[in-house]
């Protein structure tokens, strides 16, 4: 029945209430839930980004404690048993590999489509309260075309949903190279003019690629072919205060990077 499916995919609004999210997430990570309650919560995690972020926050905080507690040594036979129970897909059967790749690509496609849908709604909401600070010679670009990628950047390790700025990446056109635009939140405008250094985290490997430093005010932030590729393959963008590899000490902002569909094509 459609109505049942609809209810399953759309969690009750109360689970988006920050107070309830926090309570459930903290209990899930630190407390003891019955298997039934935990299973219900894990289902909700798949469809409630607010809850998912709250769980991620508590998991990360509490994992720091587990990291420092004493280790135990496992018997060598444990890995042998794991090895036997996790058969690797045979190499050399190209058709099977292609099928697997196709299956994986389909899965990624659906995941990406879902994320893009959420992100598009999110972007529309953001545009209501975000004002562009960067005005460049190519500013009209944003009026003629939609961005291909967007990252909503929050203060690092902050899960309070305070988006400080968004980064929009526009694909190159016949006349202009690929370009990034940074737009700060009107609610929480930029507090200083320190240059930001941008990194992209690869969605498949987790490897970090250096994109570059923020250009002077008024200058366009053009991308090279490799940096465009790094952005298009990224799951997350990270802004640091210097050119050193991102670390706890120098990371200022981070946010998920999503590919956006063309709004003209998406329009009903």
């Amino acid at each position: 029945m459609p109505s049942v499916n609809s209810n399953r995919s759309k969690p009750a609004l109360r689970y988006r209430n920050p107070v309830i999210c926090e309570h459930l997430a903290s209990q899930y990570v630190t407390g003891v839930m019955t298997p039934r309650v935990r299973s219900r919560l894990e289902t909700l995690l798949n469809v409630t980004p607010e809850l998912n972020r709250a769980v991620a926050f508590w998991s990360d905080q509490m994992a720091e404690i587990q990291f420092e507690l004493p280790e135990q040594t496992a018997n060598n036979t444990v890995w042998n048993q794991i090895d036997a129970l996790t058969p690797e897909k045979k190499q050399g059967h190209s058709s099977t590999n292609r099928e697997n790749q196709s299956w994986w690509k389909n899965l990624v496609l659906w995941q990406a489509t879902g994320i893009a849908g959420v992100a598009t709604s999110f972007a529309l909401a953001l545009m209501l309260f975000i004002a562009p600070l960067s005005t460049t010679n190519n500013a009209t670009l944003s009026l003629k075309t939609a961005p291909s990628y967007m990252a909503a950047m929050s203060k690092h390790n902050d899960t309070s949903d305070n988006i400080r700025f968004v980064i929009n990446a526009y694909k190159k056109t016949e006349n202009t190279p690929s370009t990034l635009f940074v737009q700060w939140s009107q609610r929480e405008p930029r507090k200083n003019s320190d240059t930001l250094f941008l990194w992209a985290e690869d969605k498949d490997t987790g490897e970090l690629s250096y994109i570059g430093s923020e250009p002077a005010k008024g200058e366009p932030w053009h991308l090279t072919k490799p940096t465009w590729k790094a952005i298009s393959n990224s799951s997350r963008l990270i802004a640091t205060r210097d050119q050193q590899q991102p670390s706890q000490a120098n990371t200022l902002f981070s946010g998920p990077c999503v590919q956006l569909t063309d709004w003209k094509q998406s329009a009903i």
């Binding site: 903290s26 630190t30 003891v32 420092e68 507690l69 897909k89 997350r236 670390s247």
Partner: protein, 190 residues
């Protein structure tokens, strides 16, 4: 900057690098990369077995649980959304697996107050208390009873009922300690 804060900064950086490596391995696992699974096992099995052993005090059962955890990681790596760190995700997965096994065994957590107190006090050093948003600094700011209740539940998997027995305190009081303690923690960490 003092030597102490330098040491702490170095440790944070090494933890950050280690976390990045675990993130990378988990992303590779989504493509069913067996070498990534072995590397992840080598990097984390000691820590994850430690988590399990603090809930299940039987080494044989704990090792079987560890085995289940890695099979689950192999099969469900694609469920890792990337919203938090891979290490945090692994910790939750492992702790839940240990609690499930404990329940199946119908065993109660080992209760040893002296041992627990020693472990809990080892968590707090002067360096950590100077870190503004450190979880340990925030825990140290809680009153002793809520802190103890939260940590015993988190580390040893004690239910509220078991905490009530262990701490000789009414169940309602235990629940209130945990709820308020977690609220204060969140405020401190924000």
């Amino acid at each position: 900057m003092t030597q102490t804060s330098l040491d702490k900064s170095t440790m944070d950086d090494s933890l950050f690098q280690w976390n990045s490596e675990i993130n990378r391995l988990l992303h590779q696992l989504k493509r069913k990369d067996k070498f990534a699974l072995k590397t992840l096992y080598d990097e984390t099995n000691g820590k994850l077995l430690g988590i399990i052993m603090r809930i299940i005090y039987d080494k044989h059962e704990a090792e079987e649980c560890l085995q289940d955890v890695f099979v689950k990681v192999w099969e469900q790596a694609d469920k890792y959304s990337g919203a938090g760190s891979a290490w945090g995700w692994l910790c939750v997965l492992t702790r839940n697996a240990a609690l499930d096994r404990l329940r199946r065994l119908q065993a109660h957590p080992h209760i040893s107050t002296d041992e627990d107190n020693g472990l809990l006090s080892s968590l707090f050093s002067e360096q950590d208390l100077n870190q503004q948003h450190s979880i340990k600094r925030c825990l140290s700011k809680l009153k002793e009873q809520p802190r103890q209740a939260i940590l015993l539940s988190f580390i040893h998997g004690y239910s509220h009922g078991e905490l009530s027995t262990q701490l000789d305190t009414p169940l309602g009081t235990i629940k209130a300690w945990v709820r308020r303690g977690l609220q204060e923690l969140k405020l401190c960490l924000a």
